[in-house]
Amino acid sequence: MIPDLANGVLATDLVQAYPDGYRLFGKPKMNKAVDGVSFRLHEGETLGIVGESGSGKSTLGRMIAGIETPYSGAVSFWGEPYAPVGSFLWRQQRRHVQLVFQNPAAVVDPRWTIHAQVREALLTHEALTRETADERTQEALALVGLGSMGHRLPHQLSGGQLQRAVIARALILRPRLLICDEAVSALDVSVQAQIINLLLDLRERLKLTIMFISHDLSVVRHISHRMGVMYHGKLLEIGDTQALFDAPRHEYTRRLLSAIPVEKPRRSKKREIDNSRAL
């Protein structure tokens, strides 16, 4: 198979490092959050990224989204590099890549109705009449099941509804890539399922490419075609989700997978990490 080089995202040797405080003399030591990550994200696929807290998966997501400039390495987004953060071109590129964050209540303006906030995203990139914009906004809200709630303020919605509104705001621009950074982690399990099913549904309908960052392995297994495992800033392995679950190649992946809670613990294989002793 010849890989489609023009479409999708190509990350080459991405490094993100933050200075470790300031030094009066000499350069500060750099802490590497992401350390030499390369992978390809194909158009139309869903890539899951798993890893523990501090493994650099969120930083990786921010670099892939182009809202953070890598320390070194390059991101090619549908064949193009990202423009410098904040530039005019960068703002125009925003419509092609959208983010959904962990805490929906923190990323919406508490004083604007969700209709107005979704419409603002649309009007930022398209010059439309008020009526058309309202119509398109209404469509987008209906798509995520909030058709009748556009007039509400963020605090009048539940966490799950608010996350739907954020997804509507992201998808109204018809982005090529949707990056979900712990998008369901703050929601309770039944609501998580709703959001996941919504994403699966929208993926089919809108032919979305999704990068799904989560520490929840079972969610990632459910949603992603391929998945990558991060640990200490490095991408340990990446591959077909099912294959990776069946035959993890890396020792850390094996330990991570064995830590997934199962329905009937007594019957399960012995865990690699003995949690009882740690407690």
Binding site: G86, R91, R94, A106, D109, P110, R111, W112, E120
Partner: protein, 301 residues
């Protein structure tokens, strides 16, 4: 022995609870009075000309140092007359106009300058942030009255300069608040998220950040406003503020000082107005802050 300690603590707590209950049962009355007084002050400031029985500079040398009407003075001068035979009531009314005008304009200047600089500092970070924050620290550590006196003495006194100077008092508070709020919302909050939609930062600030900051800024205004009235009072009292024959509350207080022992009615009314106005604004500010703070809101219920 332990039981004594216990009851002691209990009584202490009960007394405290008693006081808080009084405070809780009264605020509507206290706040009502504050609002009433402030409305009255604004009304007087706007219509001083129509209300005042005399002009502020109208002298009558034969009617000098008349005591107030309720102390057996002439009914012509409700609050008595001063050393030049000017009606104290009229002068207080006009003084309220001057002082409130200065305080309102200065507060607007200070709030605007401070908020804008705070946003600029938080947006650009780096050396811009450093420079603005050094200016904030400088402002906070300098005795402002002395700086103001120096500037007024050096450039000469005029009304516009006075207003601008008083306006710059307290901008550091606004700057610090605005900077903190913008930093937090730029880091993880909605401003950051909305910017990733491709919205221009200026629009994000104007449409989202500033309207959301208004509540906190408003509280800072109510804390800053009394200080500004007092600053104007101090400057006028020292002779570098409003110049006679125009009058302000501070000037009245300064003039009345010379006659405090013989004709207290010249200075005291201005003092009472200053006291009531600053107290009202402070109490109202506290009340608004409590109303806006969801944590405090929950505790009181």
């Amino acid at each position: 022995m332990t039981s004594v300690d216990f009851s002691e603590g209990l009584r202490e707590r009960r007394r405290y609870r008693f006081l808080t209950r009084i405070w809780k049962s009264r605020p509507s009355l206290v706040i009502g009075l504050c609002i009433f007084w402030l409305v009255f002050v604004v009304f007087t400031a706007l219509f001083a000309q129509a209300i005042a029985p005399f002009g502020y500079a109208e002298q009558s040398l034969l009617e000098r140092l008349n005591p107030p009407a309720f102390m057996g003075g002439s009914s012509k001068y409700w609050l008595g007359s001063d050393n030049l035979g000017r009606d104290v009531l009229s002068r207080v009314l006009y003084a309220m106009r001057t002082s409130i005008l200065i305080a309102v304009m200065a507060t607007i200047i200070g709030a605007t300058v401070g908020t804008v600089l705070g946003i600029v500092a938080a947006h650009f970070r780096g050396w811009v942030d450093d420079v603005i924050m050094v200016m904030v620290d400088f402002q906070a550590s300098m005795p402002f009255l002395i700086v103001a006196l120096a500037v007024l003495a050096f450039f000469g006194n005029n009304f516009v300069l006075l207003v601008i100077l008083i306006g710059l008092f307290g901008w550091d508070g606004y700057a610090r608040i605005a900077r903190g709020l913008v930093l937090s919302t730029n880091g993880q909050g909605y401003a950051h998220a909305i910017r990733t939609l491709g919205v221009h930062p200026a629009k994000v600030y104007w449409r989202h950040v500033v309207p959301n900051m208004m509540g906190v800024i408003l509280v800072q205004v109510t804390l800053n406003f009394p200080e500004i009235i007092l600053l104007e009072t101090s400057l006028s009292f020292l002779g570098l503020g409003v110049q006679p024959p125009a009058t302000s509350l501070g000037l009245l207080l300064g003039e009345g000082r010379n006659y405090l022992a013989t004709a207290w009615w010249i200075g005291v009314p201005a003092g009472v107005v200053i006291f009531l106005t600053t107290l009202s604004v402070s109490l109202l500010g506290d009340w608004i802050r409590d109303k806006l703070d969801p944590n405090l809101q929950d505790k009181s219920e």
